[in-house]
């Protein structure tokens, strides 16, 4: 193992399979194609030629320390929400900072405080396309939430609400997933109040279009992943 801990106080059992994952794909080609394609630096100066294209996989396993913010992530494993508070200026940070960034505090070290599992949506988006690890959960709502008392906002998933019922200012509860694994996805938000339709920021035309979009995205996810598809928005 590349990363040698000083002393393991507590851990999940190290699984040899993790090392296997990292060894999968050693930059070594697994296949090739002989392709006919265009050559040329401008669209009006193209010719045709052949190219050899290989398939070359690669994977890695990172042993990542959360450093001085570790207590926040250990808190997630214990289903507790911690923020960091500057003893000089009183600013509370979530995401936590181990050192206060207020100029007058001269990078003072912060202290841990437990935060209430409540906040409000500052802004949001409805995700209809994403990256490899999250495709199966499309469509989903991502919300930047200001947890009560904090001077920053934290990105989370917002569940159990229609996308058109989300607006800046919507009060939300912070919930923990059943089996936390030690990253920010251990928490998610749900509305703490019945959304007020008069505060919607989407027009009725937008909402109709979005309903159609949600249907299409779900169809696409199910087509691609079959029974593994887990769309996060119920309509």
């Amino acid at each position: 193992m590349a990363y040698k801990p000083k002393k393991i106080v507590e851990s999940l059992e190290y699984n040899k399979q993790w090392d296997e994952w990292a060894r999968q794909g050693n930059w070594s080609p697994v296949g090739w194609r002989w392709i006919e394609g265009p050559k040329g630096y401008r669209l009006d100066k193209l010719s045709t030629t052949n190219y050899l294209v290989i398939q070359r996989p690669h994977a890695s396993l990172y042993h990542h320390s959360y450093g001085m913010t570790s207590k926040f992530f250990k808190g997630l494993l214990e289903k507790k929400l911690y923020g960091s508070k500057c003893p000089k200026c009183g600013s509370i940070y979530l995401p936590p900072r181990a050192h206060c960034w207020n100029a007058e505090c001269r990078l003072e070290e912060t202290e841990w405080v437990e935060l209430p599992p409540r906040g409000e949506v500052h802004t949001f988006s409805v995700m209809a396309f994403s990256a490899t690890p999250f495709l199966k959960t499309l469509p989903f709502i991502i919300a930047y939430v200001r947890v009560e008392g904090c001077c920053t906002t934290v990105p989370t998933r917002l569940l159990k609400v229609n996308p058109w019922d989300v607006y800046p200012g919507l009060k939300v509860n912070i919930n923990f997933v059943e089996h936390p694994k030690g990253d920010i996805m251990d928490i998610y938000c749900t509305p703490a109040e019945t959304p007020d339709p008069s505060k919607r920021i989407m027009s009725s035309e937008t909402i109709e279009r979005l309903k159609d979009d949600m249907r299409k995205v779900k169809e696409w996810v199910v087509r691609k992943f079959g029974s593994e598809a887990k769309p996060s928005i119920e309509i």
């Binding site: 630096y41 995401p95 802004t123 995700m127 209809a128 690890p133 990105p155 989370t156 990253d183």
Partner: protein, 429 residues
């Protein structure tokens, strides 16, 4: 420090997905165009140093790629180094070249930028680009850059009331401009037919309020630009374009940290509160999670250096960094083309359209010309150079987007969600 810096040439190797040529071959094509256009360049003798611009080692699966490019271009053993700052990489490279020459150590500095993003599928490309966000907080939630920029735009819409139609109009403007650009990916993939607002609405939703036609393309391509000192510029050309202002600025890595950023408090007192009549919503101080503070900072620095106090009047056109259409709208405000919250008015009045008072993105830019990260701003700079030297009609084989008599232009570029921004002012001699 009185030594002025000129642009004396450059080239582009077209943006597309995929380009099958190797990275170094695309770079060679861009340099070949520069040399074909300017026989006064004694290559490689006239090149004193090179700055290389590319964003991602991940996308290429190759570290220190510039060492490959540098020897491929026959430029050994000249000094060379690589600049990397996300999407700001190419503008950062140009500004570094400017400072190299200003320092007096080098007279002629070549900037070469490229990116090849087609070797991975689109979700993986999104993932690797998102590795340039905070991987402990923003990354694991899965919004990625499409999501980060979307939440910023949602907030801007909430505060100032621009609509999806306003964003679509920006997409229409830029795509239609790109149909004339022979280096543009949109033209390669979709031809020369104009698009409409309805076409934007019909394109796939990516991250509300953004649809596919509102988003930057994933591209391969390369570009280069040769900068020279005042002393040597006249050897290369009778019509140099001068760099009269540069600016740099920064903002938080995590967009969510911008709601009450102490480092911006008091910096722009005129934008501390919302303009009455524009928005009645309460908001934190500028730039909040709606505008781009780094762009304001970099723009103001460049304006000061170039003596610009009324950008709309004093600039003839601009090429902006537009990975998503709401960014272009916010940039109008951050770069003081209008007041905070009034970007939508510029869109509705066509101020930044072809034929408007301040055309923006005549190249089509990121969403339509393409966005091979390390090359993008250099290619935009080349399009500015061709406009200011009145070569565009010849280069594009059409006068459709060729300006006549333009004196001064602005180039803006940034990385992350505006984590780092640069601005350059170009003026014809």
């Amino acid at each position: 420090m009185s030594n002025r810096v000129a642009v004396v040439g450059g080239g582009i190797s077209r943006f597309d997905n995929p380009r099958y040529e190797l990275h170094e071959e695309m770079c060679a094509e861009a340099v070949r165009e520069m040399l074909a256009d300017n026989s006064n360049i004694d290559y490689p003798k006239d090149i004193d140093a090179v700055i290389y611009s590319y964003f991602s080692d991940h996308l290429a699966g190759q570290l220190c790629f510039h060492w490959i490019i540098h020897d491929y271009l026959g430029l050994l053993p000249k000094p060379a180094y690589r600049v990397e700052s996300g999407g700001a990489t190419p503008i950062d490279a140009l500004i570094n070249a400017f400072m190299y020459i200003k320092s007096g150590i080098f007279k002629n500095v070549l900037v070469v930028g490229w990116e090849k993003m087609s070797e991975l599928d689109t979700p993986k490309v999104n993932e690797f680009i998102a590795a340039a966000s905070d991987t402990d907080f923003d990354f694991p939630v899965g919004g990625y850059y499409t999501g980060y920029y979307a939440v910023l735009e949602t907030r801007h819409m909430y505060l100032y009331g621009e609509t999806e139609e306003d964003l679509a109009k920006i997409a229409v403007k830029n795509h239609n401009n790109a149909t004339f650009n022979p280096y543009a990916q949109w033209r390669s993939q979709h031809g020369t037919t104009f698009i409409t607002v309805d076409d934007v609405f019909k394109s796939r939703l990516i991250s509300w309020p953004y649809r596919a036609l509102n988003c930057a393309m994933i591209s391969d391509g390369a570009a280069c630009m040769l900068l020279a000192s005042e002393e040597t510029a006249k050897k290369f050309t009778d019509s140099p374009v001068w760099i009269t202002g540069v600016g740099l600025g920064t903002d938080t890595m995590r967009p969510g940290d911008r709601v009450d950023n102490p480092m911006y408090r008091g910096l722009y007192s005129e934008d501390e509160s919302i303009y009455p009549g524009v928005s009645t919503k309460t908001a934190s101080p500028y730039p909040e999670m709606a505008n781009f503070g780094s762009i304001r900072v970099s723009g103001d620095m460049a304006y000061k250096m170039a003596g610009i106090d009324n950008p709309v009047k004093q600039l003839d056109f601009a090429e902006l960094f537009n990975p998503y259409d709401g960014v272009e709208l916010a940039e109008y405000e951050d770069l003081r083309f209008c007041k905070r919250g009034e970007g939508k008015i510029l869109v509705r009045e066509g101020v930044t359209d072809w034929g408007g008072e301040l055309p923006c993105q005549l190249s089509g830019a990121h969403t339509a010309a393409g966005h091979p990260v390390g090359a993008t701003s250099i290619a935009q700079a080349m399009q500015i150079y061709w406009q200011l030297t009145e070569q565009t009609a010849n280069k594009w084989k059409t006068k459709a987007r060729a300006l006549s008599g333009a004196q001064r232009a602005l180039l803006q570029g940034h990385g992350g969600t505006g984590c780092q921004s640069g601005v350059i002012i170009f003026e014809r001699g």
